[in-house]
Symmetry: C2
Amino acid sequence: MRTYLDCFPCILKQALEYAKLSGADIRTQKKIIDKVARSLPKMSLTASPPETGRNMRKYVMKVTGNSDPYRGIKIKSNSIALRFYRVFKKHIKRSNDKLLTAIQLAIAGNIIDYGAKNTLNIENEMGKILRQEYKTIKHEDCRIFDYAGFKRNLKKTKMLLYIADNAGETVFDRVLIEEIKRIDKDKRVIYAVKEKATINDALMEDALASGVDKTAEIISCGADTSGTVLKHCNENFIKLYRNADMVISKGQGNFEALSDSRRSVFFLLKAKCRVIADHISSLGIKCKEGDVVMYYQKYRGF
Amino acid sequence: MRTYLDCFPCILKQALEYAKLSGADIRTQKKIIDKVARSLPKMSLTASPPETGRNMRKYVMKVTGNSDPYRGIKIKSNSIALRFYRVFKKHIKRSNDKLLTAIQLAIAGNIIDYGAKNTLNIENEMGKILRQEYKTIKHEDCRIFDYAGFKRNLKKTKMLLYIADNAGETVFDRVLIEEIKRIDKDKRVIYAVKEKATINDALMEDALASGVDKTAEIISCGADTSGTVLKHCNENFIKLYRNADMVISKGQGNFEALSDSRRSVFFLLKAKCRVIADHISSLGIKCKEGDVVMYYQKYRGF
């Protein structure tokens, strides 16, 4: 997905949030927002938003000297989500369709994104997830949620590549992977996180803190972009991305980065802004801001 | 209220919305957003947001040749609100405290702001207003809603200046003014609108379309700013603003423009963004985004 003009105000907003979270004083905040504003006209509209945002974040990090301003938020997200781990497991155990419930939880986990909504009250949202207030997934509509296709693909998959999104959400991912492994313990599941800090994207330390290592191999994709931009990924990841029998990609950033890539991918995400909702709609899938989407990108030419 | 750094992304967003509503093609939209982005570093942080936004809007109007891109929206807002006029009147008639109900409606009417939320479904919101889902006005808390003070002031007022905010909201204002006049038909009420189009702010034509002329004198404040910036107002308005026994100011834009002015004002508004909510909180009034506020600015030095 390319960068839209509507992304410009958002890039500016993120720069300011980054600066504030880094503890920058008002003078430094002004310096940062001025520089980013001046750089907007030069930004590429053919690159994906995670790519466009990369230079902005690198600049803010350089000025503030803080390479991971969301660290505290990520640690908190992991620990709050972990508190709900047993509740989620019980929830799945009681379900008639355990895999479906685990998928629903994994998508709902995507709401934990301090990049898009920094005032989100995680505990409240957890309550909503458990009360199943996020039932927007229409599994009758195969264009959005092709559950039958998902199950069919999963069954014949030997090696599954699962691309992580945010810290905290990692606990939800663990729960889904555990359910996948419960059905078939011989499946190889590789869980890919970011190499370096970018917003609240999960790093190796977050995956470990969430206990993902108990059920999957964890690797770094090599990128420092808030979305797995392939040209910034390492060779190992690229190879796995090409060769995996099935790829699950979590979150908006990864969708933005990978939706033009030439392979089939199951995208699980919440459409967090109007730009992405409109973009998904332009693919023929009616989507509005806030919708929870499982989109199967089918690629036949690889 | 001064312009905050957090207003910068919003100015950029408004510029793009303005350009789109003006029917600008993608090239022109890009030209506009680039120019506005480049001008942000030069913007004054001591001026109020309506003042800061003025040049941006003038520039967009010049480039697109469209001096009133929100015209269609304003006409629609007036006509939809008018459809509810009789329902509002009945609602007030049934109320035990008719003035309070009329005030509550007038504040609720402030939700109709295409400048802040352009996807708002007016009819849905009207339903919410009638079901009194906007009961956030705490009239026990005198710092926020000094109803006793309001009534006391109103009683001794001979000339009331009522400063309008948006088109559509004008119908709600009419209902409140009619209630004020029902209590005391000899009160002089002057209703001030903007001189030239700015976002969806009410102009003379909107006040007339809403039938405000049936109950009040309508004047133009002389300004073309989305908020009554005194230095852009005409002499007649300034005189009235100084001499009125009581001033009611509607909406966020007018609060931003007048909250530092040296006279007592009853501000009725919905805090539509975090910046204004934080600003109001800094005045010692706990306020969060989305709160409905009636704030009495007391000035003793005039």
